[in-house]
């Protein structure tokens, strides 16, 4: 038992990877137990993530060194203090992202097992799914820049393959190809900046680079490339063009996980900004850059969403819009990072609001994509103009969709309200105009979702949907898991913020604690 607990960070990657590579073999010889296997593996990897997060919240930052005796540190004694070992560094923020990925990935597996039952090529599909999970877990737990790039590429490749999985006359492949090309360029930008940093500091360790960081021209070039590439991954304006294309054609359960995958890019962005560059960069300028990207994402995302007829494309544009809230909250916190009084007054709250919105968005947007996927699963129709009157036959799906829609629009008592309120309050103290834009976007979001809800579920029964039934129980189970968290986080926001969000915000705001945790006594 202690062997498992000591090696939790390694299990985060090992369980999904081994599970993924065994699936084709199991699918070949024992196809009957394949569904049970994928649920088991996904449950175990989610448990590993939850246990890791729990360990971090109770015992502080976890530094796991691969290939060395426990507790021997990132730098071998005879290396002169340069940490070249491969490490995982999981602090409060990493643990927070692990929790969000673990919940969504397990809920989606239950949903997929039922919704993919009639499809072919399931073994490879689930193998790719577990690889995507491993990629997300790796991105949010690694303490090494090159490892981050490798997990980013695993994330991109498996994500693109999953998006293209069910080719509806080629359009799924078209969306996947755009997503893949954009993110491959982004990945190479990340690698180029990793090279720029390595050339100066001879190390790939984030904490070591952060401790040595000075503001050279090369570092500014590297920062610009990092921001561009990771904003591409996160799907923020002006790099959002591939996001709606990919989300709208991917299988619905996959889209729910792709939201988390894009948030791993957001994790990388915040980690680079706060931890690696936090001490030296001009935080006001860069903070405003992040704020402007956030505001543009919010406004352009929601205005593009309003006229959409394709129900999944509409949701995808809302995903872009919601990413803007996170960037706005965290951008405000970064802009006032150099001013302790302002940070205490509203920067900390802005940060917590932005981060809380990450997990909330993963939950309610996942729920919305699953509910819409349930509609498409039974009707096979995407267009809002053709859907209608489904509330009579799909009562559960209607309830789940309504809960997700109210949460995304920021209506109490759901979780979206809790984080949006924190963002409004703190951003208002920083700059009232930004807060007003955020509220207007929220109202437009509500309007858009009322339109969708009305045109899909309300109205008289349509003759072509006379025989539509409720979706299978496992799909409902997946949605129930997410709904429990959406309502639970909305009813007890203080408890959630105190126990998981504040440690995450503190981990980013205190750059020194991250460096000390990794380098320990060496510097």
């Amino acid at each position: 038992m202690s062997l498992i607990l000591d090696n939790l960070p390694a299990l985060l990657i090992a369980v999904p990877l081994l599970g993924a590579f065994l699936i084709p073999i199991i699918g070949r010889f024992l196809p009957k137990i394949r569904d049970a296997w994928i649920i088991l593996v996904s449950f175990l990897s989610s448990m590993a993530a939850v246990l890791t997060a729990f360990t971090v919240y109770t015992k502080g930052t976890l530094v796991y060194v691969f290939g060395a005796a426990a507790g021997s540190g990132a730098a071998p004694i005879d290396s002169g203090g340069i940490p070249f070992r491969i490490i995982f560094t999981i602090d409060g923020f990493g643990a927070f992202m692990l929790l969000s990925a673990a919940i969504v990935s397990f809920a989606v597996v239950l949903y997929l097992v039922a919704s993919q039952k009639e499809r072919s090529g399931k073994s490879e599909f689930y193998a790719l799914y577990l690889l995507l999970t491993a990629g997300i877990f790796g991105m949010v737990s690694t303490g090494d820049l090159f490892n981050f790039f490798v997990f980013l590429e695993i994330n991109t490749l498996s994500g693109a393959a999953l998006v293209s999985y069910h080719r509806k006359g080629g359009i799924a492949v078209e969306g996947a190809l755009k997503y893949l090309i954009v993110n491959t360029v982004g990945g190479l930008m990340v690698l180029f900046s990793v090279g720029l940093l390595y050339a100066q500091y001879n190390s790939l360790n984030m904490a070591y680079i952060a401790s040595q960081m000075t503001l050279t021209t090369l570092n500014i070039v590297a920062l610009v490339l990092f921001i561009t590439a990771l904003a591409m991954k996160a799907g923020a304006v002006p790099f959002h063009f591939a996001t709606p294309d990919a989300y709208s054609v991917a299988p619905s359960g996959i889209t729910a996980l792709m939201v988390v995958a894009s948030q791993a890019g957001l994790y990388g962005l915040f980690r680079i900004l706060f931890t690696v560059y936090g001490g030296v960069i001009n935080t006001v300028t860069v903070g405003w850059v992040i704020i402007v990207i956030g505001i543009l994402s919010m406004v352009i995302g929601v205005t593009m969403a309003l006229p959409q007829k394709d129900i999944k494309r509409l949701l995808a544009y809302h995903a872009v819009s919601q990413t803007g809230y996170m960037l706005l909250g965290v951008g405000v916190a970064f802009a006032v990072l150099g001013d302790p009084a302002a940070t205490a007054a509203f920067g900390q709250t802005a940060m917590e609001g932005g981060l809380f919105h990450i997990i909330n968005h993963a939950l309610y947007k996942g729920l919305l994509f699953l509910a819409v996927g349930a509609v498409i699963y039974r009707t096979g129709v995407w267009s809002l103009n053709k859907l209608g009157g489904l509330g009579h036959n799909m009562k559960w799906t209607m309830v789940f969709f309504l809960i997700g829609a109210l949460a995304i629009a920021g209506i109490p008592p759901f979780n979206g309200f809790a984080s949006k309120l924190m963002i409004y309050e703190s951003v208002f103290a920083f700059n009232p105009a930004l807060s007003i834009i955020a509220m207007v976007v929220s109202i437009l979001t509500l309007a858009s979702f009322m339109k969708v809800f009305h045109s899909v579920f309300m109205g008289p029964k349509l003759p072509e949907f006379e025989n539509v039934k409720e979706v299978p129980k496992l799909m409902i189970a997946g949605m129930v898991i997410l709904t429990i968290f959406v309502i639970g986080f909305g009813l007890m926001p203080d408890l959630v913020v105190d126990s998981i969000v504040t440690p995450a915000a503190n981990a980013l705001l205190n750059q020194g604690s991250y460096i000390t945790a990794v380098l320990g006594g060496f510097l």
Binding site: E153, L157, G170, V173, L177
Partner: protein
């Protein structure tokens, strides 16, 4: 000057790669552009690890007082080559599917998603 030649080559390659990716309409050529971009990054990694008159970084029986090239960046390059192969293979197979379904690989004519 002569020591900076690799960096000039890298800058040129990156410029060519971005020009191809942004200007060409043929999807296969875009994938080629990505390949050139990847090679430029690989060349960059190898170059920053190079030391004048350096030998392979093997410590067993190494002569005294000789520079060694940095091994880490070479490991990074190898990893990136493997990742690049996977990415290129996936992209090319996707383009094959698109050609079968659409009858074209011109990126301007791939507009079914927008309809």
């Amino acid at each position: 000057m002569i020591a900076n030649l690799p960096f000039i080559a890298i800058a040129l390659l990156i410029g060519i790669a971005f020009a191809i990716i942004l200007l060409k309409k043929n999807m296969i050529k875009m994938v080629m552009g990505l390949g050139i971009l990847e090679s430029a990054v690989n060349l960059f990694l190898i170059t920053i690890g190079y030391r004048e008159d350096g030998i392979a970084p093997i410590f067993t029986n190494a002569p005294e007082g000789v520079n060694m090239v940095l091994p880490t960046v070479q490991a990074l390059t190898l990893t990136n080559i493997v990742i690049g192969v996977a990415g290129t293979a996936l992209m090319i197979s996707m383009i094959m599917v698109i050609y079968k379904k659409y009858g074209t690989i011109n990126s301007d004519k791939m507009r079914r998603l927008k309809e």
